[in-house]
Symmetry: C2
Subunit: 198 residues, 2 copies
């Protein structure tokens, strides 16, 4: 016997989500079929609402409901200090560190030649322009502590140094090989304190 087409189609959709394999997609689909209508409505509505309400900040490329985002429009922040992160999730982690009061820039990922991700796939040009136009005095490169993040950090520092800007990298309070998104606050605080000239 074959599975009814509508179930097969839903399983195929779920399979395309990250970290969802065929068995997991099946489990999710049968759960959806058994679930209360109100749960399914809320799931769909929360997805639609987020897609509608969430925008990319035109200054830092963070995800936000208002443009520019609340960080970029915060007058109390140190405007000459720019922290470069890979993703909005990474920005969120650093924003919980109390001793950082500068601005941010979301690069959109890390260099990864094997995956075909080069400088043009990231916001490198936008970053350089931002540094030039906004008289940034120091750029803290807060890419992940894995090999892609390291490669990206080296590449960025080579691009930024000719602009006569101080370039620093998060200190190795970070566990090597670790994903920035999962770092705890204390580790991140240490990492910012021990940032180094590149």
């Amino acid at each position: 016997m074959k599975r009814p087409n509508p179930i097969e189609r839903m399983i195929n959709s779920f399979k395309q989500l990250p970290s969802v394999g065929p068995k997991m997609a099946e489990r999710l689909s049968y759960f959806i079929l058994k679930a209360h209508g109100s749960f399914v409505d809320e799931l769909i509505d929360s997805i639609k609402n987020a897609r509608k309400q969430i925008h990319v900040c035109s200054r830092c490329y963070n995800l936000t409901e208002v443009d520019p985002c609340s960080i970029c429009s915060d007058e109390k922040r140190e405007k000459s200090l720019l922290c470069v992160v890979e993703t909005p999730q990474d920005l969120l982690s650093i924003s919980n560190v109390k001793n950082y009061n500068g601005l941010y820039f979301v690069l959109g990922g890390a260099l990864s030649p094997l995956d075909g991700i080069g400088p043009d796939d990231l916001r490198v040009r936008e970053l350089i322009n931002r540094i030039k136009n906004d008289r940034i005095g120091e750029v803290i490169i807060a890419t992940d502590a894995d090999s892609k993040g390291e490669t990206t950090a080296l590449f960025l520092s080579e691009q930024i140094k000719p602009l006569n800007v101080r370039v620093t990298r998060l200190g190795y309070g970070l566990p090597v090989g670790g994903d920035l998104e999962y770092a705890d606050e204390v580790t991140l605080t240490r990492a910012i304190e021990s940032r180094k000239e590149m």
Copy 2:
């Protein structure tokens, strides 16, 4: 900084799916925000379509587009033979076995006193009525081979036997293609008990 509310709301929805923890819910949500509109539309539409098109068969309680389902309305099947399974997924597995040509009954789960699941939470009454009304000659109990499935099988056989119906249980033994070295003791014990003349 807090995450924007629409993202938080979407994460909360995803967290309620089975096997999806907080980090996974976050990853799914950010994936959805970055994904192509066409993918998100297809995901939502496939969910809505499945919820609309898929019904529970009024005879066997399988999931189906038409009621009664294609198995129940198949005139060539052995109508006095009934295979009881826990879920529609289990039914699908057995339906691919070529030497079974009887009908099915989806119980809706297994007994699990610790989770508060008793006979009234399953389709026990419906099963007994079906056996009585449809002159079933043999019931094959194909619940899972775990403790809940075993408990359910024992309970059902006690309920069905007084109706003067033959009750059988799926045979236990080595999975075909399985390595003896890795088989557990209980399975091996059962395999020896159910050994056959060669």
